[in-house]
Subunit: 425 residues, 2 copies
């Protein structure tokens, strides 16, 4: 017995409304011929709803929802040193569990089915992912200047994570090896990380060229841009998630395009922190695969891919004074499709045999009236709270606007209590 | 007998929660001393809610919601000539009524209490404003090369609108005199518009320096920027709403700052059409009053001021690579306060005697957890669908998420039917 979503409008598929059938966690058929009323399947009415195979949030730090709205309008160093770090150092493993669950709840509610995360206490994040039913590619962000100075223990933590969690929960959980950035990891640490990724067949996740000063300082120190430096260490021999890539030049873009790199463009975070505007149009022109991420909520302050779609086309079109940059099709593809390969999903989410990840948006609202074009509606008009239903591996995580796997009230109250405890130590 | 909103958190006021009492359409008291349970007032529970005196959408074309999502990703001229104009020419007065109501419904649902509109068939827009209970400053966008060529009849339409509607509906409806732009109105038409505004004591509403080509062509033609040209015609002797001002230079900014001009910054529309990024930070530094508008839904595609707040800080911070540009306090002030004088409202919306315009946002959501800072929450985290209650002149237009003055289903169905009729002629 399966499930049929009847008469929904799949984005990127034909213009006609479609019946989408899934069974045993997989897409079984598109437009199944049988009359839904004649089957023993559960039938969901998708009329007036848009369907996507789920957004992939390609770069985030889920648990940082705890710091949402904490000292937003102060300079970066003050923010880190006086506000974020003192609180972050006090976080217990259990705290990271509750905060990650809150971030996952926010993501599900805004249509995200897969999270690419980098943080610490990752076992607790994996536990939140396993229980909530979403899909995630998790990483422990290693920070170590050399193998002797922290490096060996950081690598050991990563190896234990890979051994214990990679492929768990029916494959919903995967682990990346993650040197945090060129400026926080010594050369031998990065080399060892590449070796570990090859050994276990994992992907790699790192921050690349987020700010102008990072690039300037790296060039002064090594004569190379961070991208050139990472290539010199053979990092891109591993399928890599490169977060940010705001300040990449034409040579860097050539390197990214020539290797199995997925860039996680984080337009809102880059804007909020004043980092700049990534050359997304130029990367697309050169064939770089560019996905979309939120970064952590502390620099956003949301984990909402609908907002990122908007931010992406706005920043590209406005800064280049060109309305032809970033069509609705392009931004949707960045959010839905670009990172699917990296996280091990088939390119087309609505193909037979693909995991049954489905998100429905209700479009019976004033702000989505009249209905002209489904892709334009998703890129330009829907509100993330229009999401009504979310399935991952065929299991309902959100149904008619109600979370099914997360006790939302408890999570909100646990995170509020945690903040109170940290602030009153 | 009045109404008390109990324990809401007013933005921009003290940090403590507040009881807000209104009676006969006016704010009667902040933190009234009497125990709400001891009065005969209606008591609304505002706990966990943010309160603002309502967003002002400082530049829009309400009825253009009809064209939301119509041919978004084509060049501007193709869009206008092949798509928008042919449909717009077929619009009947009644059509503009239904489309305006849809736009007003979208605005109310996202926290807007006042609309500054420019369109045609304005009597129908005024009717929609009167019935729905919102506040509006309406304008007929005059297009005429000279007094003889259309000018006299355009001015007569405006004069009739002023005589019939200015100050109506308990002052909720006001009329601006509106030469559409320098490039669509001849000099003598603009001069006559200024005279009419002085005669009736109205404001003036026009498009200014929206695109680079507009400014370049105007300089080539007259030796002046559009701002300099408007000043040479004494336009700024009238309190003026100048929409866009994307391509204004330091001299232009000096002129705007020295006169009673309110700029309507429309960041999303300027981005979507590739017009560019207005120098909002520089205008603020020079003391120009800058408000926020959505422009028409056809170039946005929403009438949602929460999205404009986000767009505003993102575009300024990202393009200048400076996280100190556009604090939460600044963008909120642009959306809530900057245009109040222009529309005849006292500067502080929550002062005794001010019209009782109040909007409540529910913050009991995962995406607004944890609560750190109320202004940061509004600027960076709330979703426009978090709006639960909207009052104008003390009357509930939205209550617990339900529209009270607009038959939403009917409006949606009328606009869908209209689109079907226009497309199948």
């Amino acid at each position: 017995m399966g499930t049929i979503i009847r008469n929904a409008h799949p984005i990127g598929a034909s213009l006609a409304d479609t019946n989408l059938r899934f069974e045993d966690g997989r897409i079984a058929a598109l437009n199944p011929l049988q009359d839904p009323s004649q089957t023993s399947d559960t039938v969901i009415d998708g009329a007036g709803k848009l369907a996507i195979p789920g957004f992939i949030n390609a770069h985030t730090h889920l648990a940082m929802v705890l710091f949402r709205g904490l000292a937003d309008d102060v300079p970066l160093q003050v923010w880190l040193e006086d506000h974020i770090w003192p609180l972050e150092q006090q976080l217990q493993p259990e705290d990271v569990y509750w905060c990650s669950l809150l971030g996952i709840a926010e993501g599900i509610r805004s249509g995200t089915t897969t999270f690419v995360d980098m943080y610490f206490h990752n076992e607790q994040i994996a536990r939140a992912v396993e229980e909530s039913g979403v899909r995630a590619l998790l990483a422990y962000g290693m920070i170590a200047s050399s193998l002797q100075d922290r490096g060996r223990s950081e690598l050991a933590k990563t190896e234990s994570l890979v051994q214990n969690w990679h492929g768990r929960a029916n494959g919903r959980i995967q682990i990346s090896v993650s040197p945090h950035a060129v400026y926080t990891c010594g050369e031998e640490v990065i080399r060892a990380a590449v070796d570990m990724a090859h050994k276990y067949g994992t992907t790699l996740h790192t921050h690349v060229s987020e700010t102008r000063s990072e690039v300037d300082e790296w060039k002064a120190k090594t004569g190379m841009t961070p991208v050139e430096y990472l290539q010199s260490l053979d990092v891109f021999s591993v399928p890599t998630l490169a977060a940010h890539c705001v300040h990449v030049d034409a040579d860097d873009i050539g390197i990214l395009a020539a290797h199995p790199v997925t860039v996680a463009h984080c337009p809102k975070s880059n804007a909020k922190l004043g980092s700049g505007i990534a050359p997304v149009h130029a990367m697309h022109q050169s064939g770089v695969s560019v996905a979309i991420g939120t970064d952590g909520a502390a620099s956003n302050n949301r984990l909402d891919i609908v907002e990122e779609l908007r931010a992406c086309w706005m920043l590209q079109r406005a800064s280049h004074e060109n309305p032809a940059y970033m069509s609705s099709t392009q931004v949707i593809s960045m959010a839905v499709r670009a990172a699917r390969g990296l996280v091990g999903l088939p390119e087309d989410g609505f193909s037979e045999g693909a995991p049954a990840d489905v998100v429905l948006f209700d479009t019976n609202h004033v702000h989505t009236t009249p209905p002209h074009d489904a892709e334009a509606m998703l890129a330009y008009a829907v509100n993330s709270r229009d999401v009504t239903d979310v399935y991952v591996d065929g299991k309902a995580l959100l149904k008619n606007g109600e979370l099914r796997t997360i006790d939302e009230e408890r999570v909100i109250s646990e995170v509020r209590r945690l903040l109170h405890r940290l602030k009153n130590r």
